[in-house]
Symmetry: none
Subunit: 225 residues, 2 copies
DNA sequence: CCGATGCTTCGGTCCTGCCCGAAACGTCCG
DNA sequence: CGGACGTTTCGGGCAGGACCGAAGCATCGG
């Protein structure tokens, strides 16, 4: 009928208060469970489940099954941009109350996303591994190549132990501040432990911030330059 | 209770098909009468009046009384940006309501997007400036480099005047026909004015189409080849 | 195996809000 | 002044969809 993209479908999806709260909670790029999202939206699990199915069906969210949990996250950087534009508009209209957002330079540089590294340092890892052919990246999944396995083992990471768990080894996780992927999954978690164990960086208590020491940053760059 | 801007209110406003059609029709920055908007939305004048009252009340539209007509236009560039972000997202998802056929060839070549150039010509500007190192593009924001400032000034654009406003100088806007970025923001608007003032191109009345003259196209290519 | 936990499906209720026709209001023009 | 036109208000019909409780699946821990 008319030219142009179907904007009403998307806006109607975002336009329900419960769904908008869910999306706002996910705007930092983390993945949350259906139950957590039900809580932030202030609705029953049953209602939340319906909303989440709609959002996933509308390609605003992606679903990751992990054990008996369902983790939902924003589907793409474009979704984040659209939400940000709406937030910005609401703020400009005086309905002010902006989220902290990763404006903070230190947070953008390196932070903890659940149990792995996010921010510029996070995508650095991802790019370094992918660029050297250590990660085979497909839209469906990410696998560690033979060369990658050798490299991780050389770093001192026990891949066998990681594989023992039910958790996928490699996961792409959307990085909110960089708008690109960083590495999650069991390997991502192991790399964060590695960085902390060697004293390359330290978590600040009560914050997601991850601060590298001078020598730690150098060692990190050597490993993932 | 709930933190963050009231994004649901805005999205719900945009989320009705009739209102979305109205807003889409206004995205080129023109002002249309209530009757014209009723027509593009495909609803009766009575229904349209109600929708327009809501949009104006929600500060998405501004109203100008002129004789017995009521002209409505988008309230601010921020509104246009939010709409563009939603359009870009929908386009990225492949949900064009009508695939741009040969008839829309002219629209895909060059059109007005609120107050700047979109379509192939819009992307051309962005690529040209970025390719020559005039724009510094990061995931978070876009800035005009020193070289870029010199180049724009040489073109006859008053950057100081543009900076006087609170509007961001450069803004990436996802182009729904090209599926890539074109340049919005205050500078994007200034470039459209430049193109029109020099007679390089002309807006067709009642359309978003932007038609270049033969010599105008040549001059444009020379400036943004 | 068992029960506990997390999530989804089902059935049913209720309310918001979209829609139109008719009539009222205001403005322009002859 | 009266009639035509553009727009808004009013009243009422109607559908979509948001919501919850309870029951049904799936998964984990023991």
């Amino acid at each position: 009928m008319k030219e142009g993209p179907d904007i009403a479908r998307l806006a109607a999806l975002i336009g329900d208060p419960a769904r908008a709260n869910m999306l706002s909670a996910l705007i930092d790029g983390r993945a949350l469970t259906a139950g957590e999202l039900a809580h932030v939206a202030g609705v029953s699990p049953a209602t939340a489940s319906g909303h989440l199915a709609k959002l996933a069906d509308g390609e605003l969210l992606t679903l990751r099954r992990q054990g008996r949990h369902r983790y939902f996250a924003l589907a793409s950087p474009e979704v984040a941009e659209a939400l940000e534009a709406l937030s910005g508009l609401a703020a400009a209209q005086g309905h002010l109350r902006l989220r902290p957002g990763p404006k903070d330079e230190a947070l953008r540089a390196a932070r903890v996303c659940y149990d792995h590294i996010a921010g510029a340092r996070g995508v650095q890892v991802f790019d370094s591994l992918a660029g050297r052919g250590f990660l085979a990246v497909t839209p469906a999944e990410i696998t560690l190549t033979e060369a990658g396995q050798a490299s991780m083992t050389a770093l001192g990471i026990d891949l066998a132990a990681l594989r023992a768990g039910r958790r996928p080894l490699c996961r792409a996780c959307l990085d909110w501040s960089e708008r690109r992927s960083h590495l999650g999954g069991a390997l991502g978690a192991a790399l964060l432990r590695h960085v902390e164990d060697r004293g390359w960086a330290r978590r600040e208590p009560g914050s997601r911030r991850l601060t590298f020491t001078r020598s730690g940053a150098a060692a990190f760059d050597a490993a993932f330059g």
